[in-house]
């Protein structure tokens, strides 16, 4: 290779590097329907007539393992490797110092609704456009419920078990009418440790592993009893009758054998495997599991989580895309983010397999293709909640601390008072 060729190659490489920097690089959530959907909408965006070459979108994916840890380090280091990055509700506060608020399109409010938009807000500012929404469903075996309700002897036994464990006589109901007391009674009745004639080994499966995501699954329970992390004045209110009631009920079910004894090591995959085996009657799980669980157990029905004295709630959190403060092509990135908040983009994203939290009217346009999104949109707007402080800088750490203390109580390594004292101290430190 002579000198001229070498210089030519170097110049070409330098040009390519500059050209690459001029594009909008989006760091997405890899390896699932989110990636497929993002690829699809990016193709649509890039095919728009008149889109400047320097504003074309390039996608960047890394491994899911430790994704948010790596993102944390990249953002803190001021990385310019991406202009737009993935964010999640519980991590916005942590990443906000390294990101910039954005203004979404005029259609955003109509397309997503205020509740879903709030999952991408921090300190009153919008830090991202929502892409995928996660909430929780009550999954139940309709065939088992039907058989129970049709058998008078079983109904009597159900009432006896409820009276013995819950202190009140209950009758089986349709899952859409369940309170948490009904959920617990159903879990006990369908557990062989309580009812040896049960057709399933366990009445439910509770994800009790020391993992922050499991706390999200659990939170709909205390919330329906009126729980929150903080009151309006910013006082930590976790040591409340609401949290104590839900924690005690979960532990009662664990101790009674209504959930597998290894539940303290269970997360999403393990719980799904348990339900799919046919040995579990009902469970609370992420909406993303719907197709998997229904395929494994075709009689599976879904509804919003059971109700408590304060109503019915489902914990929501979302994934979204936001603007890296160190972005080299901010204008191009903002244009892409604004387009992502339009109805055209949201519908295309949903059709490509994504799970955006759409407002009822928008979701209705997809009723035939994605009926699950209609349910997600309806539940999110009707029952969705984010705890006070749930998007704060240390929200992730709060969930972590709760996971450690609550799982310790469930597993019997500490009592409830100790767990409450520890979590109150930790949350005071983290949130105040």
């Amino acid at each position: 290779m002579n000198l001229r060729t070498l210089l030519g190659c170097t110049a070409a490489a330098a040009f390519a590097a500059v050209a690459a920097q001029a594009e909008v690089t989006v760091l997405g959530w890899p390896g699932g329907p989110e990636e497929t959907a993002l690829r699809a909408v990016t193709e649509i965006y890039n095919a728009q007539p008149g889109l400047a070459e320097e504003n074309r979108v390039e996608l960047l994916f890394t491994s899911r393992d430790g994704f948010f840890d790596k993102l944390q380090v990249d953002l803190a280091a001021g990385s310019t490797a991406f202009d737009v990055n993935l964010i999640a509700t519980y991590s916005i506060g942590r990443y906000a110092p390294f990101m910039e608020p954005i203004t979404l399109s005029d259609q955003a409010g109509t397309v997503f609704g205020d509740t879903v938009l709030s999952t991408m807000q921090f300190g009153g500012a919008q830090y991202g456009v929502p892409t995928d929404l996660s909430l929780h469903f009550l999954y139940f075996r309709q065939d088992l419920i039907d058989a129970l309700m049709a058998d008078p002897a079983a109904v009597t036994l159900y009432g006896d078990i409820a009276e013995q464990y819950l202190g009140e006589r209950l009758a089986p109901k349709a899952p859409g009418e369940w309170t948490w007391q009904d959920f617990a009674a159903n879990a006990l009745y369908f557990s062989q440790s309580v009812n040896p004639a049960s057709p399933t080994r366990y009445g439910t499966v509770i994800q009790m592993k020391n993992l922050l995501f499991n706390m999200m699954v659990f939170h709909s329970w205390p919330r329906s009893y009126g729980a929150n992390w903080m009151d309006a004045d910013g006082n930590i209110t976790i040591d409340s009758p609401a949290y104590r009631t839900a924690l005690e009920m979960a532990k009662m079910l664990y101790d009674a054998g209504a959930t597998p004894p290894d539940s303290t090591s269970y997360e999403y995959a393990e719980a799904n495997a348990a339900f799919s085996s046919g040995q579990v009657a009902a469970m609370i799980q992420w909406n993303a599991a719907a197709s998997e669980l229904m395929a494994a157990q075709p009689t599976t029905g879904t509804f919003a989580p059971p109700a408590g004295p304060e109503g019915r709630f489902t914990h929501i959190h979302g994934l979204g895309l936001g603007l890296n403060a160190a972005a080299e092509n901010k204008d191009g990135a903002i244009a892409f983010l604004q387009w992502m908040s339009t109805e055209e983009a949201a519908l295309a994203y949903a059709r490509a397999g994504g799970a955006p939290g759409l407002a009822t009217a928008t979701a209705a346009q997809l009723a035939a293709e994605r009926p699950d999104l209609v349910q997600v949109g309806e539940y999110a707007s009707t029952y969705g909640f984010v705890m006070n402080g749930g998007t704060s800088e240390n929200a992730l750490s709060v969930y972590e601390a709760q996971a450690k203390e609550f799982t310790g109580y469930w597993a019997g390594t500490q009592d409830l008072d100790t767990a409450m004292a520890n979590i109150t101290a930790a949350m005071t430190d983290l949130l105040q």
Binding site: D69, R94, D262
Partner: protein, 286 residues
């Protein structure tokens, strides 16, 4: 400076620079962060707080719980692995002399990455998807909860022993085979029985190897991370939180970099003290 010394300095310079860049700088940075209030937001402007982080770590029940877990785990797994490795080396030595390929089969568990081993056990021990509970239910209509708070320590110890006993076995086999045959023959001529020969001749000759094996396995067990983290995480209430997991969670999960670095420095200090002690013991044994 005379010529040989200058040559030595020139030859050593790349290594010294390499060590300074790859070890010295991170160590210095760790010390700075350990003495500062540092988060991801203040990585470039840490606030000096003296020994506050060390005081916080030493006053944290979670740290002592993790230290106790690591110590127990390190000691128990090291002793079990060495005992089993020694037994296998001596028991199988005659067989291996004739069938050398058996060594390759026996060390297969070592080839698997620890993180993969954790994931594998997560599947194998799962009540509804794993083969072990499946067959236990089929045969006895019962399977113990391998991963609940009461049993998880035993489970992770067994998993670690199954994976790393081959390492101790290899060390002991090498030492056993290195014992001069003449020594054994002389003892046999004097009428020494096999059991006595093992206790009085072979085992004492393998003691330096035993120290090395115990020490290496202890250090490996004490700093355990991958397999436990992928299998059960920090455990309910933190019951499987090792020192490494404690540091990882403080650093990346809680963003408390100062505390994480202070804990890491304390871990380094403890490891250094142990290393020095072990070296002295090995010299004395030799």
């Amino acid at each position: 400076m005379n010529s040989p010394r200058r040559e030595n300095a020139v030859l050593a310079a790349p290594l010294v620079l390499f060590l300074l860049a790859l070890l010295g700088f991170p160590v210095m940075l760790s010390v700075v962060y350990g003495l500062s209030e540092t988060t991801f937001q203040t990585l470039t402007r840490p606030r000096f707080v003296g020994l506050d982080n060390f005081a916080r770590v030493l006053g944290d029940d979670g740290f002592w719980q993790a230290a106790w877990f690591s110590l127990r785990f390190g000691v128990i797994t090291a002793v079990l692995q060495c005992a089993l490795g020694l037994f296998l080396a001596v028991y199988l030595a005659p067989l291996i002399r004739r069938h050398g390929w058996m060594v390759a089969v026996l060390i297969i568990p070592m080839i698997v990455a620890p993180a993969m081993m954790g994931l594998m056990y997560r599947l194998v021990l799962h009540e509804f998807a794993g083969p072990v509970p499946h067959y236990l239910y089929a045969w006895f209509n019962y399977s113990p909860p391998f991963l609940n708070a009461a049993n998880v320590f035993t489970t992770v110890v067994v998993a670690e022993v199954l994976q790393w006993t081959p390492f101790a076995f290899l060390l002991f086999l090498t030492a056993y085979q290195a014992i001069p045959q003449e020594v054994r023959e002389a003892a046999a001529v004097d009428g020494t029985r096999p059991w006595r020969m093992f206790w009085r001749i072979e085992l004492p000759l393998m003691l330096p190897t035993a120290f090395v094996a115990l020490f290496i396995r202890f250090i490996d067990g004490f700093r355990v991370f991958d397999n436990i983290y992928t299998l059960v995480g920090a455990g309910p209430g933190g019951v499987t939180t090792s020192m490494s997991i404690y540091i990882y969670e403080a650093f990346l999960r809680q963003g408390d970099i100062g505390r994480a670095m202070a804990a890491a420095i304390l871990l380094f200090g403890a490891a250094f003290a142990l290393l020095t002690l072990a070296q002295r013991l090995m010299r004395r044994a030799a």
